[in-house]
Amino acid sequence: MLDPQADFQAHTHPSAAGRRALRLGICGPVGTGKSSLIMLLCSRLAATLEIGVVTNDIYTDEDARMIRAAGVLDPDRVVAVETGACPHTAIRDDITANLIAAEDLEADVLSAGAALDLVLIESGGDNLTATFSPALVDTQIFVIDVAGGGDVARKGGPGIERADLLVVNKTDLAPYVGVDAVQMKSDAVAARGGGPVVALSRTDESSVEELLTWVRGQLAAHAGGVLVPSDPGPMAPHSHAGGPGHSHAESPTHSHAHSHTH
């Protein structure tokens, strides 16, 4: 029997974008380490990948200037988007300014004779509810940190539960803020139903490697045309009574945290 809703329930298609750069969104509350994570990725990947960065900030280009100043990327590869005090809108319901920025960055690099492999888009530090539209990014990382409190992961929210990767950052600070980082990570894994979590500290090389492995996996999936952008939603997860034609965008290749030894 035909689902009466089928008419307006659009089906998801794999990203048709064979050639363009992978667009990786990085969001999460203020000060959790989004810009630092971008600088880390640039410093570790820029030797082998062409990278561009789009920042969204409260005051225009604070993040962009910080990333340019880090010297990990040609300053022209970092552009800032104004959000008119609407950081949430700019990554979610009207992504126009960010799309134009990403397209321009790709075109500029192309006209300079190269082609971007990876565009990193940093959201303005918003709150726990803000996530990227899958129409803007192919995949997204949600960043929280131990200093925000050990309970944050357990409480959940769309980004924590359903972003493609959750980073629990600044684990080196855990002893100083009275948080059990191992417990926080296992809470996060539970909140995500086993989905990938990296407990990260820039001072812990194995955690950095774990992050890089995930990013490389996403790049490979994008290049292979099998990366399906998925929406963490703002809505709580729901289930249907098994009707056909309701396949939701769940990444088929959620490669789970590989085992590694310290």
């Binding site: 298609h13 409260i58 604070e62 008119g84 005090a85 992504i95 126009t96 300014a97 899958p134 129409a135």
Partner: protein, 230 residues
């Protein structure tokens, strides 16, 4: 699921209702990054206290009048089969601020992204390179059956609402009071409409400059601490 999947391109044999198109173009929910615009209010506030209704009125007499005239003339050019390039050139020489020209190109581009969903693709091909907002609007108006007065009114109305919406962000007040400002600007809006509705050729576009607004726009483009793009 993406917006692309939800909304198939508009087939040319299904014409839009002109009034519905006008409502769509004047709606702040239209995804053209309207939230990034303050119509110069942010730099004006940086320079000093602003009487918002007076600022709105100043814009309607000056830069917004030039923009509305450009949209009306662009509409006439499409209907008359003449070049939009000439309309855009006339607009450019009457818009001395490079920052304001840049802003209009970015806003034009946001509209161009939507254009194929509103009108048949062959019409979009009439646009000049890097089309500015009033030229894109004029094209959509011509193809979508909007009359000249409605075309001008959309430009003026959008400008009023952009200023007032930004004022609600930057200097919060009771939004009912702010809406009162919008309504009290309507007579001036009709003055703008009456002033541009009969224009047909590029040379007739008025050069209504506002050096203070243009100066603010230039300064704003170089500040490192702004909330709004322009």
């Amino acid at each position: 699921m993406t917006p692309r999947d939800l909304l198939p391109p508009m087939a040319s044999e299904r014409p839009l209702h002109p009034e519905a198109l006008a409502l769509l173009l004047a709606d702040a929910r239209l995804p053209v990054a309207g939230h990034t615009q303050s119509a110069g209010l942010e730099p004006a506030l940086v320079a000093g206290p602003v009487d918002v209704p007076a600022y709105v009125a100043l814009r309607l007499r000056t830069v917004t009048r030039t923009e509305a005239a450009t949209a009306v003339v662009a509409r006439a050019a499409v209907l008359g089969g003449t070049s939009l390039e000439a309309v855009q050139d006339a607009w450019a020489v009457r818009t001395p601020s490079a920052a304001m020209r840049r802003t209009s190109r970015v806003m034009g581009r946001a509209l161009v992204r939507l254009a194929p969903r509103l009108v048949a693709a062959e019409h979009v091909a009439l646009l000049p390179c890097e089309p500015v907002r009033p030229v894109v609007l004029g094209l959509l108006a011509a193809v979508g059956g909007l009359d000249a007065a409605t075309t001008a009114r959309i430009v003026g109305y959008d400008d009023i609402q952009t200023v007032v919406a930004a004022a609600l962000k930057l200097t919060p007040l009771d939004p009912a009071e702010a809406t009162g400002w919008v309504v009290r600007a309507f007579p001036a809006l009709e003055g703008l409409v009456a002033g541009v509705v009969d224009l047909a050729c590029p040379e007739e576009i008025p050069a209504r400059n506002a050096p203070v607004i243009e100066d603010h726009a230039e300064r704003h483009a170089h500040t490192t601490r702004r909330l709004f793009s322009a």
